[in-house]
């Protein structure tokens, strides 16, 4: 349950970006959140609503791009989903696997009304 502190870190980045757009109203925050990032989008949205309530960002929409975990076999190159991953590569059985997506915890962009 560290969505609150992640939300605060995110808002620091938002603050420093909004300082460069004086007078603009923040409408949306675009995030990439991987399912393996340890952050639950619903809890993050709730934390965001609580923190921003009554402030300049109240009503801002969090647009969360929910990214499933996926992997790629380093031996045969096959791409696969997390559900397939537990037993190794579905094609060659190798456990020499690279996680290629699903660990993101990134702020991508803002939409502002200026």
């Amino acid at each position: 349950m560290h969505e609150l502190s992640i939300c605060q870190s995110m808002l620091k980045i938002v603050d420093s970006t909004m300082e460069q757009h004086e007078g603009a109203t923040l409408l949306k925050i675009f995030l990439d959140i991987g399912r393996g990032s340890t952050i639950e989008p619903i809890l993050l949205s709730e934390a965001f609503d609580v923190i921003t309530s009554g402030g300049p960002y109240e009503g801002t929409e969090l647009v969360i791009n929910d990214i499933p975990i996926s992997g790629r076999c380093r031996d045969c190159g096959r791409d696969f989903t997390y559900e397939e991953l537990a037993v190794g590569c579905p094609k060659c059985g190798s456990t020499n696997i690279e996680i290629t997506a699903g660990l993101e915890l990134d702020i991508k962009a803002l939409e502002v009304d200026d």
Binding site: T38, A86, T95, I99, A109, V112, D113, D114
Partner: protein, 222 residues
């Protein structure tokens, strides 16, 4: 209406502070391990067993993270460590900022090893780099053999996984090979050690593993 591109990791501020901590640790010439596990998997017991084998050879510093009480710090002090207890007051993890705030109170100059015992939790601590050299995940046989795939982040991030309480295996349904396979799938480069902090089985090998890492770190610094 316009779009402002940012493209930044939300944890970039924590990562920046972790780099600051890493500099302090490097200047002191200490090897730092960040130990992450569920509550009750034996982090403090393993530290006690480790200190029993190392504390007469070198100064060991422990940074203890818990929601409340000094209980863990009292335990490791009794086994020869110096250090400090951080109480997070409900916080589920240590952050680089929390660790950085106490570094000035530690005797790093005379120490060779620093253990950071994170708050018992397999989820949140995996997202916070503290400036450590080695992120270690400790798991125990009593937690069940389904943990790696359920908590992928920490097993992906940790460079070593240590399986504790192997003395209890005869009494449990626990598939060690399945667990190892799941850890390897999440991090093919992960090292895996097995031990019992209570009986001491495997603890000498664990201590030797730490000493090898310490020598490696010292050799890269000189």
């Amino acid at each position: 209406m316009s779009r402002v591109e940012i493209e930044k990791k939300i944890q970039s501020e924590n990562d920046r502070l972790a780099i600051e901590n890493r500099k302090v640790f490097a200047e002191a010439g200490v090897l730092v391990l960040n130990i992450i596990s569920s509550p009750g998997s034996g982090k403090t017991t393993l530290l006690e067993a480790t200190l029993d084998r190392l504390a007469d050879k070198m100064n060991v510093v422990v940074i203890e993270g818990d929601v409340s009480t000094e209980r863990d710090m009292d335990r490791v002090r009794a086994h020869g460590a110096s250090g400090i207890q951080i109480n997070t007051g409900g916080g589920c993890h240590l952050s680089a900022k929390m660790v950085g705030a106490v570094l000035g109170q530690l005797d790093l100059g005379s120490a060779e090893l620093v253990f950071i015992e994170n708050v018992g939790n397999l989820i949140c601590p995996s997202t916070y780099d503290l400036g450590e050299d080695i992120r270690m995940v400790l798991l125990s046989t009593t937690e069940g053999d389904d943990k790696p795939m359920k908590y992928p982040s920490i097993f992906h991030e940790a460079s070593v996984a240590v399986l504790n309480k192997i003395d209890l295996l005869p009494h449990l349904t626990y598939d060690v090979e399945k667990v190892k396979k799941e850890i390897r799938v999440l991090n093919p480069d992960s090292e895996i050690l097995e031990l019992s902090a209570t009986t001491g089985e495997g603890v000498d090998a664990w201590v030797e593993w730490i000493l090898v890492k310490l020598r490696e770190k010292k050799s890269t610094q000189t």
